[in-house]
C-alpha cells in the first residue's frame, strides 16, 4: 500500500506541472487583457496602463512569466490579483466559507435524499415508489439549475414573498442570525442539492439492485435475520462501495463551486470568483483557483482509489 501511494504521488507531480503549463499557455494566448477597462476611459493616459503592465510583468515573454509564477507558487506566494490588488490567497479564503457552506450543504442534502430513496426504490423495484422516484430523478437532472433556480425565485421570492433571493451577509445576532441564514440559503442549497440528488439516486438504486439479488443476501434472509438488518448490515455496506468512491470524486466539485447557481443567487463562492476573474482576464486568480482545483482532483482521485481498495477486499492495489 505504501509503495502504491508513493508511486501515485510521484506521478502526480509531473501531471500537475503539465496541467499548470497548459493552463498558463491557454490564458496567455486568450484574447482580452486585464487593463482593458482603462483603455476605454479617455481620462486615463496610456502611460498608466503601460506602467501597470510593466509592474505586473505582463510584457515579459511567456516562459519567463511562467517561471516567475511557478517559483512564487512553490514558495507559497499565490500571487496578486490584477483587478483588486489583493493577495490571491486572501481572496480565495474569503470565498471559502460561503462555498463550503452552500455547496457542501447541497452535497449533504443530496446524499440525505439519494440514499434512502435509492435504497428503498431498489428494495421494491418497479413498484409505484420506484417508478415515481425514477421519473422524478429524470426530471431532476434534466432541468438545468438556472431554470430551477429562477423557478424557485419566482415562486418563493416574488409570488409568495417568503424568502430573499440575494445571498448576503446577515446583519443579526443570536438565533435570529441562524434563521436569516437559513432563509437566504435554503433556495440555493435546494436547487443544487436536488439536482445532485437526482443523479445520485439513480446510481444508488442500481448499485443496491446489483447486490440485492446476490446469493448471500438470500442466505442472510434464510438465516432468519430481519429485513432491516439484512439491508443495512449486508446489502448497503457492499452496495455503497462504488457510491463512496463516486462521492469522493465529486468532492473537488464542491471547491469549484456551482457557477450558475452562484450567479443567480449572488452567492460569493469560488465559482463566481473564477468566472469574474476569467471575464476580467485576472490571470493570477484564474491560475491559482484552477491549479488548486487540479490538485484537489488529483488528490481525491487518489483517495477514491485507495478507499476503494480498502473497502473492497476483492481489490488489490498495484
Amino acid at each position: 500500500m505504501g509503495r502504491y501511494l508513493a508511486k501515485r504521488l510521484l506521478i502526480a507531480i509531473p501531471s500537475l506541472l503539465g496541467i499548470s503549463v497548459v493552463l498558463f499557455t491557454v490564458l496567455a494566448l486568450a484574447p482580452g487583457d486585464p487593463f482593458g477597462e482603462l483603455a476605454t476611459n479617455p481620462a486615463i493616459p496610456p502611460e498608466v496602463r503601460t506602467a501597470l503592465r510593466v509592474k505586473f510583468g505582463l510584457d515579459d515573454p511567456i516562459y519567463l512569466r511562467y517561471f516567475h509564477w511557478l517559483a512564487a507558487m512553490v514558495q507559497g506566494d499565490w500571487g496578486f490579483s490584477f483587478t483588486s490588488r489583493i493577495n490571491v490567497d486572501t481572496l480565495i479564503l474569503q470565498r471559502l466559507p460561503a462555498t463550503l457552506f452552500v455547496i457542501g450543504s447541497a452535497q449533504i442534502l443530496a446524499l440525505l435524499i439519494a440514499l434512502p430513496v435509492g435504497i428503498y426504490a431498489a428494495m421494491r423495484p418497479y413498484s409505484w415508489f420506484d417508478q415515481l422516484a425514477s421519473t422524478l430523478s429524470f426530471v431532476g437532472f434534466s432541468l438545468p439549475t438556472f431554470f430551477t433556480g429562477l423557478l424557485f425565485i419566482l415562486v418563493f421570492s416574488v409570488q409568495l414573498d417568503w424568502l430573499p433571493f440575494v445571498f448576503s451577509d446577515v446583519n443579526a445576532t443570536g438565533w435570529r442570525w441562524y434563521w436569516e441564514e437559513l432563509r437566504q440559503s435554503i433556495m440555493p442549497i435546494s436547487v443544487l442539492g436536488l439536482f445532485q440528488a437526482a443523479s445520485t439516486t439513480r446510481y444508488v438504486r442500481s448499485a443496491v439492485l446489483d447486490v440485492i439479488r446476490l446469493d448471500y443476501v438470500t442466505t442472510a434472509r434464510a438465516k432468519g435475520l430481519g429485513e432491516r438488518v439484512v439491508i443495512l448490515k449486508h446489502v448497503v455496506r457492499n452496495a455503497l462501495i462504488p457510491v463512496v468512491t463516486l462521492v469522493a470524486l465529486q468532492m473537488p466539485a464542491i471547491f469549484g463551486g456551482a457557477i450558475v447557481t452562484e450567479q443567480i443567487f449572488r452567492v460569493p463562492g469560488i465559482g463566481s470568483l473564477l468566472i469574474s476573474a476569467i471575464l476580467s482576464n485576472d490571470t493570477p486568480v484564474i491560475m491559482a483557483v484552477t491549479f488548486v482545483f487540479a490538485c484537489l482532483v488529483v488528490l481525491f482521485n487518489l483517495i477514491a482509489d485507495v478507499l476503494y481498495g480498502w473497502l473492497d477486499p476483492r481489490i488489490t492495489l498495484g
Partner: protein
C-alpha cells in the same frame, strides 16, 4: 436636430434669456447637452455670464437627527473590486470608494458644484478663481476629521496631488493631477496652479477623480509600494460611513460615522453594497421584492422594467448624462492591409467616403423604433428639450428616418441596384460589416438597421463580439473597437466626465487610433478635418466658457453633419430606487455623490 448649430452670438442670446427668466436653467442645460456639451460646462457658461451662481443650492432634507434609519442596502451588479479611489477602474470602484472618501466638491444633477470638503466654491467674486485662469484657491471646511479622529488639513490635499501625479504609483486619476502644481497656503487653504490658462479648473479634487485619501496612512506607501498599503483594503476617509468589511467583487459594508461633519447626517445606521449577478435580477430585487433599496446602472430593456415596477415596491429613475449610443462610420479601408495594419490612416474607404452613402445611412436608422421597441425610457431618440426657441427648430428635423429619401440620394449619387438588389457603382458594392458588442438591445438595433438598409439596397452583415473582448485594449486582437476592422460599429460613448474636451478628442487628427500608438488613440473613426483641429486647439486655450462652448459645438456639429458618426439614442443613467428612499441622482458624478443626504420618507 437643428438647422444650424448655435454660434457664440446665439449662445450669448440664450444665456441672456436665462438671465431675464424667459428660459429656465434646466432647459438651457438640456439644450447644451443636445449639442454635445456637458451639464457642468453649460453651468459654467451660465455662472461666468452672471446668469447663475457657481454653487449649487442645497437639496431638501427632512430628518432632524443623525441615525435611526436602519440599514441601507444597495445592489451593484458589478461588485467593487478595490477601495482606493486613485486606482479605481470604472464606476463600480469609484462608487465603492465614495462611501468612505469625499472630494472637495461634487457635481449636482444640473452641473453646478456642490461643496463637500470645501468651505465654499471658488469663483471670481470670492477671489477663488484667478482672472488669468492660472490658479484656483480652495478654502477647506474647518473641523473635519478622518474616521480615525485625526484632523483633515491642507497637507492631505497636497499629498493626494503628489501621490496621484507620480507615474510610479500608476494611479488611474493621474490625468487630473499630472499637469498641475498644488501648494499649501495655510492649514485650511490650498492653491492649485496651472502653467497655462485653464478654462476647466474643476477637475483636480472634484467629483469621481477628486476623492481625498489621508496623508498619515498613505505617506509610507507611495510610488512602487502603493499597492501594499493596508488602508487600500480598509479605507479611512471623511465620509458619512465608516468602514466595516470588504470582500472584493462581493460586498462592501459600512456603519454610521457619528462624527460626520454635517449635522443630522447620515440617516441610515449601516450601508451594504452587494455586488455580482446580472442587471435584471438587480432590478427585480428593488422593484419587485423590495429586498434592496437601490440598484445601479440598469442596462435592462424598458418593457422588463415596466413589468417589474408593477410590483409597487420601487421606481426607475433616469439621470441625464451626455452618453450617446452611436454608429461609427469608418473613414479608412478595413479590408486592405498596409504595413501590417488594416483600417490604416493611409487608406480611404472605397464606398463610405462618398458622402451620399453616409447621408443615406443616416436616414436609414429608425431611431423612433429603437426608442419605442427597445430602449423605452432608457434611450431617447432626440435630445429632450422643453422650451425650444422657435427660430432654432427646422421643420424637418435633421434626424429623420426616410427610406425613400435614402433611395433617392443613392440613385442621384449613381449607385444603381444590381441583379441581387444591392447597389453598386464602378464595380464597388454597398456591402458592409456592422459590428457591436453582445448585448440584447444592441442586437435588436442591428436587426432594425439591417432591415431598413435592405429596402434601400444596402447589404449589412451583422457581427457581434463578446463585451470583455470588444472593450479591451488588447493589441493583438482584431475584434476590439479601437481596431475598427470593419465598416460600421456601434457602442455607447460615455460622457459623464464633467468636461467635453476629452470626449471630443475622438474627432481630432492627432488622436487617430493606429498601430503606431497601439490603437490607444481616441479617434476611432479615423475621420479628420482641419476645421475640427483648429476649433479644438482654439477651445483648449479659451478661457471664456461661452466662446469655448461655441468651438465645441462647432466640432460636434461638423462631425455629425459629415456623418463621421450617426447618433442613435441618448442613454441616461438608469437606477432603481425604493419608493420611500429619497435620492437626488446626478449623471455627472458618482451615484453616491450625495450619499449623506439620502433618507427614507416615513
Amino acid at each position: 436636430m437643428y438647422d444650424k448649430a448655435p454660434d457664440e452670438q446665439a449662445l450669448r442670446s440664450l444665456i441672456a434669456q436665462v438671465k431675464n427668466g424667459t428660459l429656465s436653467r434646466r432647459s438651457f442645460i438640456r439644450q447644451m447637452i443636445a449639442f454635445g456639451l456637458t451639464a457642468p460646462l453649460a453651468a459654467q457658461m451660465l455662472t461666468y455670464s452672471g446668469a447663475a451662481h457657481a454653487q449649487a443650492k442645497p437639496l431638501p432634507y427632512k430628518p432632524t437627527k443623525r441615525g435611526g434609519g436602519g440599514p441601507l442596502k444597495a445592489l451593484w451588479w458589478q461588485g467593487s473590486t478595490l477601495l482606493n479611489p486613485h486606482f479605481a477602474v470604472g464606476t463600480k470602484d469609484q462608487d465603492g470608494s465614495r462611501i468612505f472618501y469625499e472630494p472637495l466638491a461634487s457635481w449636482d444633477p444640473d452641473g453646478f458644484l456642490y461643496p463637500i470638503l470645501a468651505a465654499e466654491i471658488p469663483d471670481l467674486e470670492n477671489n477663488g478663481l484667478a482672472k488669468d485662469g492660472k490658479s484656483v484657491t480652495w478654502k477647506l471646511k474647518p473641523g473635519v476629521k478622518w474616521h480615525d479622529g485625526k484632523p483633515f488639513t491642507a497637507d492631505d490635499v497636497v499629498f493626494n496631488w503628489e501621490y496621484a501625479k507620480d507615474p510610479a504609483t500608476a494611479a488611474t486619476t493621474i490625468g487630473s493631477y499630472q499637469d498641475i502644481k498644488v501648494e499649501k497656503v495655510d492649514d485650511l487653504t490650498v492653491r492649485v496652479l496651472f502653467d497655462k490658462p485653464t478654462p476647466f479648473w474643476a477637475d483636480a479634487f472634484v467629483g469621481v477623480r477628486g476623492m481625498i485619501i489621508p496623508k498619515h496612512l498613505f505617506a509610507d506607501y507611495t510610488c512602487g509600494k502603493s499597492r501594499d498599503a493596508p488602508t487600500n483594503l480598509k479605507p479611512v476617509g471623511t465620509g458619512a460611513y465608516k468602514f466595516v468589511d470588504f470582500k472584493p467583487g462581493d460586498l462592501v459594508r459600512g456603519e454610521i460615522n457619528m462624527d460626520y461633519h454635517v449635522e443630522n447626517r447620515p440617516y441610515f445606521d449601516t450601508i451594504e453594497m452587494k455586488g455580482g449577478g446580472d442587471a435584471v435580477s438587480a432590478a427585480r430585487a428593488v422593484l419587485q421584492t423590495g429586498e434592496y433599496d437601490y440598484s445601479w446602472n440598469l442596462q435592462v430593456e424598458d418593457e422588463i422594467l415596466l413589468r417589474l415596477e408593477k410590483g409597487g415596491k420601487g421606481k426607475t429613475v433616469m439621470s441625464e448624462t451626455g452618453s450617446v449610443e452611436h454608429i461609427q462610420v469608418n473613414a479608412t479601408d478595413p479590408w486592405t492591409e498596409v504595413d501590417g495594419e488594416r483600417a490604416s490612416k493611409k487608406t480611404k474607404h472605397p464606398t463610405l467616403s462618398d458622402k451620399a452613402v453616409r447621408d443615406a445611412l443616416a436616414l436609414l436608422v429608425d431611431r423612433q423604433s429603437v426608442q419605442d421597441h427597445i430602449y423605452g425610457r432608457t434611450g431617447v431618440a432626440t435630445g429632450n428639450y422643453v422650451n425650444n426657441p422657435q427660430r432654432f427648430i427646422s421643420k424637418n428635423t435633421k434626424w429623420e428616418f426616410n427610406v425613400e429619401q435614402a433611395n433617392k440620394i443613392l440613385d442621384d449619387g449613381g449607385w444603381k441596384k444590381g441583379a441581387d438588389g444591392i447597389r453598386e457603382k464602378d464595380g464597388k458594392k454597398l456591402k458592409f460589416v456592422y459590428q457591436t458588442s453582445i448585448n440584447t438591445p444592441r442586437q435588436k438595433t442591428q436587426a432594425i438597421v439591417k432591415q431598413a438598409c435592405q429596402k434601400a439596397g444596402i447589404d449589412l452583415e451583422l457581427k457581434s463580439v463578446t463585451a470583455s473582448v470588444y472593450f479591451s485594449s488588447d493589441v493583438a486582437n482584431p475584434d476590439t473597437y479601437p481596431h475598427f476592422y470593419c465598416d460600421l460599429q456601434m457602442y455607447t460613448v460615455t460622457m459623464n466626465q464633467p468636461d467635453p474636451e476629452s470626449f471630443l478628442l475622438q474627432f481630432v487628427s492627432w488622436e487617430v487610433s493606429a498601430k503606431e500608438n497601439k490603437w490607444q488613440g481616441r479617434n476611432i473613426t479615423r475621420w479628420t478635418s482641419k476645421e475640427v483641429d483648429e476649433a479644438y486647439k482654439a477651445g483648449q486655450a479659451e478661457l471664456d466658457p461661452v466662446k469655448r462652448a461655441a468651438y465645441f459645438i462647432k466640432i460636434n456639429d461638423l462631425a455629425c453633419n459629415e456623418r463621421a458618426v450617426i447618433p442613435v439614442v441618448y442613454r441616461p443613467r438608469v437606477q432603481a430606487v425604493n419608493n420611500r428612499l429619497v435620492v437626488h441622482s446626478s449623471g455627472w458624478d458618482s451615484d453616491f455623490w450625495d450619499l449623506p443626504n439620502w433618507y427614507k420618507d416615513v
